[in-house]
Symmetry: D2
């Protein structure tokens, strides 16, 4: 199978590069807006422990919102189901940075993968500790999951986002006004922004997702029950207002980031990381989404049924 | 395995009946409001062709919104992907009969499983044919899927809903005002209401779901590719604003109806029908949801990973 | 003063006709869409009993939403302040036919001048009587106010609107679903549509507004206290989502209709009717709004202070 | 007339104090929440130059949102109608601190009297100057209007609001994210909060309103044309989501503040300041609203028609 997969990924890399329309990198973080969109990388971690790659799979990129999966995993490890008193588990039916629903629902974000929900998750982790300690916990969790210590926060990206991230600042202050932040807004926000600025390669990210995929040897860091829940949330809310479209086309749980990365999970089979910086209308990587669709189709990995 | 499942369903039936809190039947359709909530039935159709049941599995109930899965299957069979120009594939983040999003999105319903979306689907089927012919097509499709001709529309329920279904009448007229109904609103609405009034037993419904589950011998009526898509939509939008909660707790695609039924799909493994008339706050059957959770847990059927 | 006003209106008529951009007639009522927009009429009823006119002041037009002022006056006469349990008194901050707010506010329209609110008002008048009797009451009220029996309903317009008025049908059914219609939706809607189809000339309408302006000899039909309240509502909500703009530019209470008419009230001084069929972006007559601004400015009639 | 008014105000003071239900002071600014609600003052500045008072008319209170009228007057004086490219003139149909509409309208506040709109107004004044200079301009404008130099900012209140004003911080950051703030959010917000913390007595505030009422000798500071526009905005949007109710009951333009004050304008006749710290459900002073209604009724001052 691995030979077939290797051949497929090489072909896929060629097909993606031949597409021609890469989409546009996120423009609201100046540091990310400057990245050349004509890049593509993919790494597939399989149940047998092997990693198959193609393209720019060793290039570091900003994982951004993909970090929300790891911070949620940390929170679930620490306080478990209690987190659901502060954040919901439903699709938002709105953009990732929408503030509208937050008013209608009185400060309780619809799910932990929209920005408001992730700020709440990080705020929970921050409680009783400094931002530095909190960030260490999240980064160390990712390192342990990937079994690789060479994973760091890109402070240039964090600074860039801090200077222009007014919408997230609005969300943090709004949450605070409803009493759904335990820490000062600027502290929760600063920690959240730094967590989003974690840099990883496709290989590192695919390795870090093995526990969520429930692959052999990786389940000690996230229990199977927690992994199932993370996957359910990724399936329902992992791609913002394009989650339904992604589920329909790909049929696998995934989580995107505006840095152009997607973490894709084939439960029991594989953990996949795909990266291409140009985004589609929903704010998800255009080429990574297409590659995810082609990969899932080729491998027959859809959780919704075989060929 | 079947012996284990039989024992489990018998135990489950006892546990559900011991719960004590059945929820409240739908109150907006007078004919349904009168039903005794203290009822429970379950039928599981397995890949080996056997059907295992417990409780009131042979009692007929009004399938209501579960019919939306079958009418969508009919439309996909007839015009295929073109239907997505008229209706979306995203969670609505709102109640099943919300009209609010319809205004924001200019008459294009968010998905085919909220009422507005299902009225559009039925309107598409109605185009070029009479309501009677359209209803025959839907009922015959269900009969063929269940391999059972004894499936009918309960006209008393249809009449009851027609007399008090003002919110659906509002939705139909609103869709028409945006040009997203091809037929007169009362015609599309009347056909939709009759389709919802199809009566089935758990056994019949479980059998009808086998094609969606991709079980052997059942795939001729719905292709595997279409079945995967139906499952994706059921997972994302099958339980209205409680879809996330259902995915999180159960981990399987499903579709509920206000008659108290749930069609639950374990792709490649089983098609399950559960019925109990009392509803929870989202408008889904309270006890059927609980039973779905326990069954999926016991069998390890979650599509999001094993135990 | 009247000589000055006569000269001013003649000059105004010329200026309006020279503007060149008439706006577009309402397109959602086919019968109204066919009217030539290049028409303009104005009639001013003064405190001394005289009427000064210019342009097409004797031409009949469909008063449409201006009828809401008269039906509200009828309801206030019959049940008084009780009507406010069914409808609010606040600006809607939305289009005249918005259904969105109705969902947020659970079926209680924001004010009696948006369509939903006017349907509720008419429904109240309809209670205990036939549509025919109700329409007689409204038409007779308008005739008495105008002191002119030659005022009728244009049945061609009513029929035209009935055939295509799906959005109003949606509103009526939606109100019913919240229990805020006492009569069947089609009955309340039919009566409302016929009331909107009353035809009047500018002269007739200006005369009918004298009681609202509190002009001498006209107050027996509407008490001064009721007139003040009608004026307050016209000021706050008389021009849908352009009410603030109208108040800012004109400084007088008014009520527009999609037929192109505006009833303008200078309390204690004059009742003015202006008509020109082309509409602006808010759905109010473009040239009638401009004429109202020029007239109020010229006469120093703003209620918000003199020159 | 003044003797009658004196007697009336004395009687009114007694009636208000006898009412018994004062409402609750604003709770979101700790410093204001501590004020005894059982206080009431009123001052009426008449066209003849006299001031008639009753109750606690010489007690200083925090004018809060009433300051929005003065900052808007400053902006109109500086850049005139250009301000309307950044802020609208329509009622919001929502609470004073709603963020929802801001999302729908892409960062352009509905009017300058909701918090978001006032932050934009202040931001415009701030452009090219320091917060200190900007605040001096506003305070000096108020002093000139009141002809009284003993008017100051209460820094304790400003500090109290700075520490807990997360919702306003959310609004400011949100405006910035849409590009509708020229200055850093914290600067615009800080200036806005200090402007709101201006302290005045009823006598001072009634005097400061004379130019808006167009009283003799007061029009040099605000031109009659500007005064009419301020009155139009106060009538339409001066009491947040209770503006319609206020217009209906009182019939005069006014602007409330959460400190319990109301500036009430009877164009050409009087400028009135009323104060009582307890608020009603809309966030307007409960007893000041009642007093305004009784005063306007007694004097026959409604702009919507006489008795």
């Amino acid at each position: 199978m691995n030979t077939d997969l290797e051949e497929f990924l090489t072909r896929l890399d060629g097909e993606i590069r031949a597409e021609g329309d890469w989409g546009k990198p996120a423009d609201y973080i100046p540091e990310l807006a400057r990245i050349d969109p004509a890049q593509f990388g993919i790494a597939v971690a399989l149940a047998d422990g092997t990693i198959v790659t193609a393209g720019d799979a060793e290039r570091r990129f900003s994982i951004q919102s993909i970090s929300k999966v790891f911070s949620l995993a940390c929170v679930l490890g620490r306080i478990g189901e209690q987190i659901w008193t502060r954040v919901g588990r439903e699709s938002s039916g709105a953009r990732f940075d929408s503030i509208l629903l937050l008013e209608r629902e009185q400060g309780r974000p619809r799910n932990p993968f929209i920005n408001a929900g992730a700020i709440v998750t990080t705020d929970e982790l921050l409680t009783g500790r400094s931002p530095k300690e909190t960030l260490s916990e999240i980064v160390n969790f990712v390192r342990a999951a990937a079994d690789d210590d060479d994973i760091h926060i890109d402070k240039t990206v964090a600074r860039s986002e801090t200077e222009t991230g007014w919408r997230n600042a609005a969300l943090a202050n709004y949450l605070k006004s409803f009493g759904n932040l335990k820490n000062p807004p600027e502290l929760a926000l600063g920690t959240y922004i730094h967590q989003c600025a974690i840099e990883m390669t496709c290989v590192q990210l695919a390795r870090a997702g093995r526990a969520i995929a429930g692959l052999p040897g990786a389940t000690s860091i996230i229990s199977p029950a927690k992994a199932r829940r993370l996957n359910a949330l990724m399936m329902l809310c992992g791609h913002y207002d394009g989650s339904g479209d992604f589920a329909f086309r790909v049929g696998l749980p995934g989580k995107s980031g505006v840095g152009g990365g997607i973490l894709l999970i084939a439960p029991g089979r594989a953990s996949v990381a795909i990266w291409s910086p140009g985004l589609n209308a929903y704010g998800n990587s255009k080429m990574a989404t297409l590659a995810a669709e082609k990969l899932a189709q080729h491998m027959g990995w859809s959780v919704f049924g075989g060929r």
